[in-house]
């Protein structure tokens, strides 16, 4: 693969670049030769009908699956084949379509797990409670509360994550992802299961996150939210890119309307 050649052709400000990535499970090709770029500071939406390969795409970007072919560059570095925790440490964080918190840990602890790669205390240091581990622990607590403040959960720090109402669980997942101090945040259907009010709040939070200097990609079915926050939209269907452009362009694109049978785009 001509990795060297493609690496040089990044345009200025490209944070993430996927080239022709493909992934099949058995006979089913979930993602077929998808290419796209995400620029620093963007809010980009990926939409498409159910089964279009959006979540698989996330799994490829975060290293949970390895693409059959194609290349993924993040900040100019090839990340294909790296284990997920390394990719996270490089600056890609994600949330899950089905909330995957650590339900039996407190809200603050959930966020502190997100800070794992930003701290260093190992087995020995922690067991002996050496000064490094004490300092880190104190810092993590403070930082966790600050991160929870972003999504408005700072008062719930000591509740069990599993006991939060669903909408707050989504927000906690977002906070936990932010705690990894990402450059790129991948949100997987953050608005599903939220009511209209919570969705509006979520939109504000996404703006706030972008203003912190974090690039945001969201997979979302809620077209209201997509049209409101995103600057660029990528449309997938059956694992293939069928359109890419601004929300206005997408809204009037005949292929997109066809893919959705003209029903879901309001």
């Amino acid at each position: 693969m001509a990795a060297g050649a493609t690496a040089t052709s990044f345009s200025e400000g490209t944070l993430l670049c996927a080239r022709e990535i493909t992934k099949s499970f058995g006979g089913l090709t979930a993602v077929k030769a998808v290419s796209f770029e995400v620029h620093e500071g963007d809010i980009k939406a990926i939409i498409g009908p159910n089964g279009a390969g959006k979540t698989t795409l996330y799994d490829l970007l975060t290293g949970i699956y390895r693409p059959d072919s194609g290349a993924i560059y993040f900040g100019g570095k090839d990340i294909v084949g790296l284990p997920p925790h390394r990719i996270t440490a490089m600056g890609i964080a994600r949330t899950f379509q089905t909330v995957r918190l650590f339900p039996e840990m407190t809200v603050a602890e959930n966020v502190m797990v997100g800070m794992h790669h930003r701290t260093r205390a190992g087995f020995t240091t922690c067991a002996l409670k050496l000064p490094l581990s004490r300092r880190e622990e104190a810092w993590m607590k403070e930082e966790a509360l600050a991160t929870l403040d972003i999504v408005g959960l700072e008062m719930q720090g000591d509740s069990l994550a599993g006991s939060l109402p669903f909408g707050q669980q989504r927000l906690l997942e977002l906070a936990r992802a932010l705690a990894t101090k990402p450059r790129l945040l991948l949100l997987d259907e953050p608005a599903s299961g939220l009511n209209a009010y919570e969705t509006r709040e979520l939109g504000d939070i996404i703006y706030r996150v972008r203003d912190m200097g974090i690039t945001v990609v969201l997979v979302e079915h809620d077209m209201g939210l997509v049209m409101r926050v995103s600057e660029k939209v990528l449309v997938l269907d059956y694992g293939e890119t069928i359109a890419e452009g601004t929300p206005e362009e997408i809204r009037s694109d005949p292929r997109v309307i066809e893919a959705y049978l003209g029903s879901e785009v309001d």
């Binding site: 975060t62 949970i64 284990p83 997920p84 925790h85 996270t88 440490a89 964080a93 994600r94 899950f96 995957r100 918190l101 650590f102 339900p103 039996e104 840990m105 602890e109 502190m112 797990v113 997100g114 794992h116 790669h117 930003r118 701290t119 205390a121 190992g122 087995f123 922690c126 067991a127 002996l128 409670k129 000064p131 581990s133 004490r134 300092r135 880190e136 622990e137 104190a138 810092w139 993590m140 403070e142 930082e143 600050a146 972003i150 936990r176 992802a177 705690a179 990894t180 101090k181 912190m212 200097g213």
Partner: protein, 371 residues
């Protein structure tokens, strides 16, 4: 607006030595945080004073048994890190216990090394075996349980059959008593303190560990491996390290055991030992360092108690006296009842009862809509 705070790590690291000194010397805070540990240590310290006179009328050698409780507490706590916190089942931990016991026994009884060299070597050998066997952690659930059980069986068979090294079923005899450099420990009470000092240090370290970054990572990967990995926790290396740590604690406990008993043979380290260890952890309470100590105490004292009980009651029916095998029945019933009614373990159940005024008993017989 939060940008300034994001580099707090470096800020905190640069905090002056004065601030650090204050943190370190905050005595009341230290006492408060370690209240349980301090209380328990005190309890152990004064134990010989009240337990020795009590032993005879009760018919239970309390201090003698407590030495073993200390030994089992060490390995049970290690196993609890692996099973309770990190969620990885091991039904073969008796193997590490046995490896530790044989290493120290052979080094001291055969090679003539001092005991205080033998014990660290035992820890080291168990640790090496832990590293070698860690690949089984790729498996999950039942498969991991069965693979670790199989691992325990294989090591047991090798201990029995490698007669040139282990002496086979004849075992290793004349293992020297516990000792420190320049100090031989000969009395039961001395052994009791020797074991419990080590056990309490191990407990303290483990309880520090579980309340730290590492402990959080363990619990996180237990609850969702995918999410933990995605949050930057190196899941597989975390599991392996925990496994190795628990293997090393198993080796330590095994070595102490060998020196306490003075004689070991492979049948002491069969899978039944592994099962008792797991039972200690599960009955005492998963995700609870103190639960393991309690579990170790319960399982170790149970046989003695069952043996002594009829004597308290006086007249024993003839058939009961003849078949003294009902220890297994009592253990079996306790295990089954605990699993059915208090699946999170006895200590957790009791804590729940006191703290939340909630009955720790679940009613598992109630039918619910969908299974």
């Amino acid at each position: 607006m939060r940008h300034g705070r994001r580099e707090m790590g470096e800020d905190a690291a640069a905090k002056g030595p004065r601030a650090r000194a204050i943190e370190a010397f905050n005595l009341p805070l230290f006492l408060k945080r370690n209240a349980l540990l301090i209380a328990f240590s005190a309890f152990i310290m004064v134990m010989p004073a009240w337990a020795s006179p009590l032993s005879k009328p009760l018919g239970i050698p309390i201090i003698l048994t407590m030495r073993l409780v200390g030994v089992y507490a060490i390995v049970a706590v290690g196993l609890n890190l692996l099973m309770g916190y990190a969620g990885q089942v091991s039904l073969g931990h008796g193997a590490f216990f046995g490896i530790g016991a044989y290493t120290s026994a052979l080094l001291t009884a055969r090679a003539g090394l001092p005991v205080w060299v033998g014990i660290p070597c035992a820890v080291l050998v168990a640790l090496i075996f832990g590293v070698l066997l860690a690949p089984v952690l790729r498996l999950k659930g039942h498969y991991l349980a069965m693979a670790t059980l199989a691992m325990g069986i294989v090591i047991f068979v090798f201990m029995r059959e490698m007669t040139w090294l282990t002496g086979g079923n004849d075992g290793v005899r004349n293992i020297p008593d516990l000792a420190l450099p320049f100090l031989k420990v000969t009395t039961t009470q001395g052994e009791f303190y020797y074991v419990w000092v080590i056990a309490i240090v191990a407990l303290a370290l483990c309880s520090n560990l579980v309340n730290s970054r590492v402990g959080r990572a363990m619990r996180a990967l237990h609850q969702s491996e995918v999410a933990a990995e995605a949050m930057g926790v190196p899941v597989s290396s975390m599991k392996k390290r925990t496994f190795v740590l628990s293997a090393a604690l198993g080796g330590l406990a095994g070595a102490l055991f060998a020196h306490l008993q003075g004689f070991i043979d492979p049948n002491q380290f069969s899978i039944l030992l592994s099962i008792s260890l797991v039972t200690m952890v599960v009955i005492g309470g998963m995700e609870s360092v103190w639960g393991s100590v309690f579990g170790a105490g319960l399982i170790t004292f149970l046989p003695k108690l069952v043996e002594a009980l009829p004597r308290w009651l006086g007249d024993v029916p003839d058939w009961l006296e003849k078949y003294s095998n009902y220890e297994g029945m009592v253990l079996g019933v306790i295990i089954m009842l605990t699993m059915v009614f208090m699946p999170s373990g006895i200590t957790k159940g009791l804590v729940d009862l006191v703290r939340n005024r909630r009955s720790p008993f679940v009613n598992p017989f109630r039918r619910k809509a969908v299974d």
